[in-house]
C-alpha cells in the first residue's frame, strides 16, 4: 500500500528531566532560562579527599518516592534517574499502559550510557574485598552494566518493541535519539529514549581523574568556562533526560502534543583527546545532519554547543561551526547551558536536546552561565536569556574518546 511508502516523521511528544538544576522538566527549564549555575563543591561521601572539587550533583532526588522497591534494589542511581525521567516523559506524552498493552511490541526503549552503575558496583566490590566473593549480591551482574537502564525501563513498563543501548561516548546521547528515530521510521510506533548518568560515586570519580581535560578548579564559578581565555577543562555532572518519540501521524491521531521533530543527525569519529581533529569530525557531523534534515545553514536559529572548556577543543568547535555553516557560523546564536550544571556525559547532549525543544517552544535562548568574555568568533548568549523566534536548533556533542555527533531539531509545522 502506498501508505507504507510514505516517509515516517519522528516527533518528540514527551520530555522528562533529572538534572543538577531540577528534578522535573519544569524546574530544569526555569533555572536553565534564568541562567542559574548550580555547580558546587563535591559533597558526595567518599569524594572529600579526591582532587575533583567541583561537580554538578543532583540533589533532592528521592528514588524511594518514585520507583518501586523491587526495581530500586537491583539498580544503580543512573538507572533510578533514567526510570524517573522515563516516567515523566511518558506522563508528558500521555502515553499510558492502556495505549500499548494490546500492542507491547510497538514501543521500544533506547538509552546511551558511558559511566555505568558506579555506586552499586563500588558497594559490591567493597563487599568482595572486605568480606569475600560470597557476599557480593547477584544483582551486581546487571546493575553496573551500561544496558541496565534500557532493560529495566523495558521490563518495568512492559515495552517489548526494539530495545537498544548505544555505547558511543558522550555523543551517544544524540546517537540514541537517532537510533530511536530510525526505529520509528522502520515501523515502531513509539520509543522511550534518552540517557542518564551518575558518575559521582568515589569509584567513578577516581576513574575520571585520569582525564586530562577534567577541571581541577576549586571555585565553582570559575571551574567550567568554555570559549573564554580562562577555559580550564570541564566539570562532570550527573543526571540526564528521557523522551518519548513517536511517528507523527499516529501521535497526532491519538491526540498527543507534538513538541519537536527529529529532523537530522550524523555522527563521526576522530581521535580520543586530539581536539584539533575534532574540528573536521564535528564539521562533517553538522553537514550530515543538515543534509538529512534538508536544512540550509542559514535556517539554523540556535546552536547548543558541546563547549568542552578546553582551549583547543573550543577552538575546534568554533572552527567546525564556521566550516559547516559558513558566514552564518559567526552570526548564529550559540549557547551552552551546561556550564551551569556540568557535563553529565551521555546525559549532557540529551539535556541540551531537552533545552533546545523548550527554547523553541518558549522563544527564548537560555544563556551560558559563568561565561562572560568569549575569545572565539562566536555569538555566545551570555548573561540572560535572549528572546528569538526559533524554528530550528542544532545540538552538538563530542566525547572524550573521539565521538562527534550533531542533531537538528525543528519546531513542528
Amino acid at each position: 500500500m502506498s501508505k507504507a511508502r510514505q516517509p515516517r516523521q519522528t516527533v518528540v511528544t514527551g520530555i522528562g528531566v533529572v538534572a543538577p538544576n531540577g528534578t522535573t522538566t519544569e524546574a530544569f527549564w526555569k533555572r536553565t532560562q534564568e541562567g542559574m549555575s548550580v555547580l558546587d563543591r563535591v559533597t558526595r561521601e567518599g569524594c572529600e579527599e579526591l582532587p575533583l572539587h567541583v561537580a554538578g550533583e543532583v540533589r533532592g532526588f528521592d528514588p524511594v518516592s518514585l520507583i518501586e522497591e523491587r526495581y530500586l534494589v537491583q539498580t544503580d542511581r543512573f538507572t533510578h534517574f533514567a526510570m524517573a525521567a522515563a516516567d515523566m516523559a511518558l506522563d508528558d506524552a500521555r502515553l499510558g499502559r492502556a495505549d500499548y498493552e494490546d500492542a507491547p511490541y510497538s514501543v521500544g526503549v533506547v538509552t546511551a550510557a558511558g559511566s555505568g552503575g558506579g555506586e552499586f558496583g563500588q558497594r559490591e566490590l567493597q563487599r568482595l574485598w572486605g568480606q569475600g566473593s560470597k557476599y557480593v549480591g547477584p544483582y551486581q551482574s546487571i546493575a553496573w552494566f551500561y544496558a541496565a537502564s534500557t532493560g529495566q525501563i523495558s521490563i518495568r513498563g512492559g515495552f517489548k518493541g526494539p530495545c537498544a543501548v548505544v555505547a558511543s561516548d558522550e555523543a551517544g546521547g544524540l546517537d540514541a535519539l537517532a537510533h530511536a528515530d530510525r526505529s520509528v521510521r522502520r515501523g515502531t510506533d513509539a520509543v522511550v529514549v534518552g540517557a542518564a548518568e551518575a558518575p559521582l560515586a568515589p569509584y567513578s570519580v577516581v576513574c575520571q581523574l585520569g582525564y586530562r581535560d577534567l577541571s581541577a578548579a576549586e571555585e565553582p564559578t570559575r571551574a567550567y568556562r568554555p570559549f573564554t581565555s580562562d577555559a580550564c577543562g570541564f566539570v562532570p555532572a550527573e543526571g540526564g533526560a528521557m523522551f518519548v518519540v513517536e511517528e507523527e501521524t499516529a501521535a497526532r491521531e491519538r491526540g498527543a502534543r507534538v513538541r519537536a521533530e527529529i529532523a537530522g543527525h550524523a555522527a563521526t569519529f576522530t581521535t580520543a583527546m586530539r581536539w584539533e581533529e575534532s574540528r573536521e569530525g564535528l564539521a562533517h557531523a553538522i553537514e550530515g545532519a543538515l543534509r538529512e534534515a534538508g536544512c540550509a545553514p542559514e535556517e539554523i536559529d540556535v546552536v547548543f554547543a558541546d563547549a568542552l572548556g578546553v582551549p583547543e577543543a573550543d577552538r575546534a568547535e568554533a572552527l567546525a561551526l564556521a566550516d559547516a555553516l559558513g558566514a552564518h557560523g559567526r552570526r548564529v546564536p550559540v549557547t551552552a547551558p551546561k556550564t551551569g550544571i556540568g557535563r553529565a556525559y551521555c546525559g549532557a547532549p540529551v539535556l541540551d536536546a531537552a533545552a533546545a525543544v523548550l527554547a523553541m517552544e518558549n522563544g527564548l535562548i537560555p544563556p551560558t552561565p559563568n561565561v562572560f568574555e568569549v575569545c572565539h568568533d562566536l555569538d555566545v548568549v551570555m548573561g540572560r536569556a535572549r528572546p528569538a523566534e526559533l524554528r530550528t536548533a542544532l545540538v552538538l556533542s563530542r566525547g572524550l574518546m573521539g565521538s562527534n555527533a550533531a542533531m537538528v531539531l525543528r519546531r513542528p509545522a
Binding site: E69, V73, G137, S141
Partner: protein
C-alpha cells in the same frame, strides 16, 4: 530446630534481597505457586541462597537456586540443614 527456614524468614529474605513485599501466610497458603508470581526472579533467589550459605557457613545443594516454588525451596534447604550436608 531454630535453624529451620520458615515462610516468615523466606518472606523477610525476599524483602531484604529483592525488595518484594510478600505476606508470609499467603506464601505458605500458596506454597506451590511459582516464585515468578511472587515477583522473585532467578537472581533474587540466587541472592537468598547466598545469604543462607553465609549464615550457616556451609553450601546448599547446587540446585538450590533452581527451585521453582517456596515449598520446593524450603524442603530442599531444610533437608539439607537437617542432614548437615
Amino acid at each position: 530446630m531454630t535453624d529451620r527456614l520458615t515462610y516468615e524468614e523466606l518472606a523477610s529474605l525476599m524483602k531484604k534481597g529483592a525488595g518484594l513485599t510478600v505476606d508470609h501466610r499467603e506464601m505458605e497458603n500458596r506454597s506451590d505457586t511459582a516464585f515468578d508470581e511472587f515477583g522473585l526472579d532467578s537472581l533474587g533467589l540466587l541472592g537468598i541462597v547466598g545469604v543462607l550459605e553465609n549464615r550457616h557457613g556451609r553450601p546448599l545443594p547446587a540446585d538450590a537456586d533452581r527451585c521453582k516454588t517456596p515449598r520446593e525451596f524450603l524442603d530442599l534447604v531444610n533437608n539439607s540443614l537437617m542432614t548437615g550436608a
